[in-house]
């Protein structure tokens, strides 16, 4: 591991300290709750205590009478404005404030606007709602039972809780391969419901100017432009009179992609009072009502020859989507990119089918660095390979090495239709195995097992391997859109007369360092120092349209757009330079930062000189308009496919079931690294998330539909104590189709690490005959698995 040393600002790619740190370190970040506007009021949401109940009446009279209350909004108020329901990102509808019944605990029922935040909360207590409880659907496996209560009776003709069926791959061919295989290993596994839990919760300040009719919406959004369009469609406001501003965001992790009822209520509150209205949710509200992640119940099967050549994989998934289908994903992909479940292996056939169901829980599904369900896909295949290794009695790392795709097979078309761009998988796995000294570790484990068997040690040693292929950078507009908006992203670059530049982007950083790395891309292409380039994002009045930051798509899409605009500016600069030097543009050659005459390096003009000339009275060639700027909308030809080899070493206390992560080695390959320091930080964060999911995090429900993970007292996040010092390695296999060869990286570690940790724990438990156990592997879950009585982590019903 290289130390991050004091390093000068590079003219392009390389380690560079972050520009955004300057304000964050002094407490001068500007997050939504920091915003104070003249006359600003405060909103608070009244939520349902029931998972499923009819609303008989809502009495707001006492709240209305509170001296500091300015407005109380109910479902009925919204129905009068045709805003009681709003469209979701999955072509369903979601209640903004419940009118007919509540469908999950924590659902929004009323909204109070008051002069301060304390009074708004006080007034919630004064609202009297009469409910008639209904039986809830809690266990997704019973959502389609004939006698299951129908959750979505608001949808015309709906008589069950079925949302969709979706499949990928070749069913007939897969059946043939499975029928002919020597070995078929099967396992059921749950990827339990978890939550992204960014440190900053969701919130907004809605400011509808009663004179101009213009709405300014300061809000925690990862996709400000998409929000603007949706507000225009939902609220009927003209889109040019909506300005969405995403200021500094305290982490997103997919939690801040969609539109939540609180945002709409804040807008309505501002319309009704003529004042700005701030709404900032509490942590418990964040956990209970905003986008959850995962909740996939998977039945996996893997077929192989008796000597371990993997032949096929098939999967059946039951997907719990909660009460409204609000999943954020491209329209044609109801199960996201789960189709990449064939992973990093060269196989003959694959097939999957996914069924989505409604339950009495909050909506969501796609969030928490999942890259549109790739977390689930990678977990499935990486667990199945370990289950196969268990059944065959072979080493899981060696089984992978034997079946990994080889470098010469790229671009590789998977059996479910994904074209992987590039990869050198065996090299990465070998590096990871060398970094942990794999053979030495296995020897230590054998020794330890002998001590365990003789009762001389209670500490079990486990080694977990995971190899993943990601698919990020959605995506080609022909296949990918969200609510009809194609997934291309814009960039605009303007170089000022003195050679300083402003880059405007549609992506939206939530801590990933875009203000630094995107300036580095321009610096690399134009030779303008990164400190001379300001990156503007998050203000829809100032930036080009695009779909925002999630799915690790910023580098693949906006990063490509940035390189393209910089190259367009470079070409314009060439024409200006040719006029300055009175030579043909063909006679000019570029070196970073200047055009010069071929064969005469002394005769040249710097990009700064060219910028001034472009704005001057210099006579320009025919057709050249002057100024030094360019725009681009980048429609990616394919996704990028970063990959990685992870090895986790754990120690498990056989007496208590407690797991300690002793060592974690992560070798990642995201192609060209714009800023290795930032890439490493992204990986560190994702690894911690993986440890959290594998060992600690779950949002469980009891039989009444009570949410049992609704605060940080129960929903546990890893602290500095549960995380080891991460050891990172890297290989570089550039994306051939990307302008700078870079692939996304943000979500790789979250995608790859849970399987590595779980595989490690189960490897430790192998002497106990444990073949699979579900996350989170809490001490109780591990201990129960060792007793042969596995725990259902997602239900408080046994």
């Amino acid at each position: 591991m290289t130390a991050i040393e004091k390093h000068p600002t590079p003219m392009g790619f390389g380690r560079m300290h972050r520009k955004e740190d300057v304000r964050f370190l002094r407490g001068h970040g500007n997050y939504v709750d920091d915003i104070v506007l003249p006359g600003m009021l405060h909103g608070a949401v009244l939520r349902s205590p029931h998972a499923h109940a009819k609303i008989l009446s809502v009495d707001t009279s006492a709240a209305q009478a509170h001296p500091k209350v300015r407005a109380v909004i109910t479902g009925e108020t919204l129905a009068g404005l045709d805003l009681a329901w709003m469209p979701t990102l999955s072509h369903d509808v979601q209640a903004v404030l419940a009118t007919d019944k509540v469908r999950f605990q924590g659902q929004e029922v009323a909204f109070v606007v008051a002069e301060d935040r304390y009074s708004a909360r006080d007034a919630l207590e004064l609202i009297d709602v009469e409910y008639e409880p209904l039986p809830p659907v809690v266990d997704a496996r019973h959502a389609l039972d004939e006698d299951a209560p129908v959750i979505r009776d608001d949808l015309e003709g709906r008589t069950d809780n079925h949302i969709f069926d979706w499949e990928a791959g070749d069913r007939a061919r897969t059946e043939e391969v499975f029928a002919a295989a020597d070995v078929v290993a099967a396992a059921d596994m749950i990827y339990p419901r978890v939550h992204p839990a960014p440190m900053e919760t969701c919130g907004a300040v809605a400011d509808l100017d009663p004179v101009t009719g213009k709405l300014t919406m300061y809000t925690t959004t990862q996709a400000p432009h998409a929000h603007r369009t949706v507000y225009a469609l939902v609220a009927g406001l003209p889109e040019h009179r909506i300005r969405v501003v995403s200021p500094d965001i305290g982490g997103g992790f997919g939690n801040k992609v969609g539109i939540y009822p609180g945002y709409v209520c804040a807008i309505v509150g501002s319309i009704l009072t003529g004042k700005p209205v701030k709404w900032m949710e509490d942590r418990s509200e964040n956990l209970m009502s905003t986008s959850f992640a995962r909740d996939y119940h998977m039945h996996g099967e893997i077929a192989s020859t008796k000597d371990g050549k993997i032949l096929g994989i098939r999967v059946k998934v039951l997907a719990d989507h909660g009460a409204f289908n609000g999943t954020a994903q491209p329209s044609k992909f109801p199960a996201g990119f789960f189709g990449v479940f064939t992973g990093s292996y060269d196989i003959e056939a694959a097939h999957c089918e996914v069924t989505g169901v409604y339950t009495n829980k909050a909506p969501g599904g796609v969030a928490y660095a999942c890259s549109f369900r790739i977390t689930e896909a990678v977990y499935l295949v990486e667990r199945m390979v370990d289950v196969l290794a268990y059944d065959l009695g072979v080493d899981p790392a060696h089984l992978r090495m034997r079946n990994l795709l080889r470098a010469e097979q790229f671009p590789y078309l998977t059996k479910t239709g994904w074209e992987y761009d590039s990869g050198d998988y065996p090299r990465a796995l070998r590096m990871a195995m060398d970094m942990v000294d794999y053979d030495e570790l296995r020897a230590e484990q054998a020794q330890r097992r002998e001590l365990n068997a003789n009762g001389e040690s209670g500490d079990l040693l486990g080694i977990g391997v995971a190899f993943f292929t990601e698919a990020v950078g959605a995506g080609p507009r022909k296949h990918m859109d969200i609510l009809g908006l194609g997934m291309a992203d814009g960039a605009e670059l303007r170089v000022h007369p003195t050679g300083k530049a402003v880059l405007r982007l549609s992506c939206q950083s939530q801590g990933q360092g875009h203000e630094t790395t995107f300036a580095q891309i321009v610096a690399e292409e134009l030779g303008i120092p990164p400190d001379d380039i300001d990156v503007v994002h998050g203000d829809t009045d100032q930036t080009p349209f695009g779909l925002g930051t999630y799915g690790s798509r910023s580098t693949p899409v906006s990063g490509a757009a940035t390189a393209v605009v910089a190259r367009r500016v470079r070409e314009r600069a060439r024409l200006v330079a040719s006029a300055m030097l009175e030579v043909s543009p063909d006679d000019l050659e570029w070196e970073k930062g200047r055009w010069f005459v071929k064969g005469d390096p002394e005769a040249g003009r710097s990009i700064q000189d060219i910028a001034m000339a472009a704005h001057s009275s210099l006579e320009l060639p025919e057709g050249v308009e002057g100024h030094l700027d360019a725009t681009c909308v980048y429609n990616p030809p394919n996704l990028t496919y970063p990959f990685g080899a992870y090895i986790c070493v754990v120690e498990v206390d056989a007496g208590t079931g407690q797991v300690r992560v002793r060592q974690f080695v992560a070798v990642d390959d995201c192609g060209v690294r714009i800023n290795p320091m930032i890439v490493e930080g992204q990986i560190h964060g994702g690894l911690a998330e993986g440890v959290g999911m594998a060992l600690m995090q779950v949002m469980a429900f009891d039989e009444d539909g009570n949410h049992l993970g609704g605060s940080f007292m129960d929903y546990l996040l890893p602290t500095s104590m549960e995380c080891p010092s991460w050891q990172l390695g890297e290989t570089v296999t550039p994306s051939p189709h990307h302008p700078i060869g870079a692939k996304g990286i943000g979500e790789s570690a979250t995608v790859g690490s849970p399987a590595a940790v779980v595989n490690a724990v189960l490897d430790a438990l192998k002497p106990y005959g444990v073949r699979h156990a579900d996350m989170p592997l809490t001490p109780a879950a591990v201990w129960r698995a060792m007793q042969g009585r596995p725990l259902r982590p997602d239900l408080a019903i046994t």
């Binding site: 002094r26 407490g27 997050y31 942590r283 801590g511 964060g685 994702g686 940080f712 500095s720």
Partner: protein, 156 residues
């Protein structure tokens, strides 16, 4: 009631409700928004400040309890000349922050940690910062930053 608190060396005196939390007093009355709110159960530490030199979670202290006391927030760490405190500098040097939301609390907790243990080991830093959650960094670089700020060689 009227409370008078010395915040970063400046006297802030204001009429507040008895129930006003110190974190809201700092953010809304004193107008110092570095101190953040990340939870409602005293778990996350984003609101950590120094109260008479000791780190406390300001979401779990009433403004009234701080009456007549001294509070230091992140804004109070930077010198008059704008010079960064060694801990602030080290967080940037070691890339110990990403979204920046836990950073103010994390830095205040680190300042307190180093006051009690000027040369901590990496493990001691982890124990010392256990009350502060971070969702972005995976803690690794935060630990490195505290080691760096303590003047020790960063062994990664």
């Amino acid at each position: 009631m009227k409370v008078t608190i010395e915040v970063n060396g400046r006297t802030v005196s204001e009429e507040v409700e008895d129930r006003t939390l110190l974190v809201h007093f700092l953010r809304e009355t004193a107008g110092l928004t570095a101190t953040n709110i990340g939870c409602d159960t005293t778990s996350c530490g984003a609101c950590t400040v120094l109260l008479d030199g000791e780190s406390v979670k300001s979401c779990t202290v009433l403004a009234a309890q701080a009456d007549g006391h001294q509070v230091t927030t992140l804004e109070g760490l930077t010198g008059e000349d704008g010079e960064l405190h060694p801990v602030q500098r080290a967080f940037r040097e070691q890339h110990g922050l990403q979204c920046g939301f836990c950073t103010p609390g994390m830095i205040m907790a680190s300042v307190s940690l180093l006051k009690h243990n000027p040369k901590p080991t990496r493990d001691e830093v982890r124990v010392g910062l256990e009350g502060n959650l971070c969702r972005c960094t995976g803690y690794h670089n935060i630990v490195s930053a505290v080691i760096d700020a303590s003047g020790q060689e960063v062994d990664r």
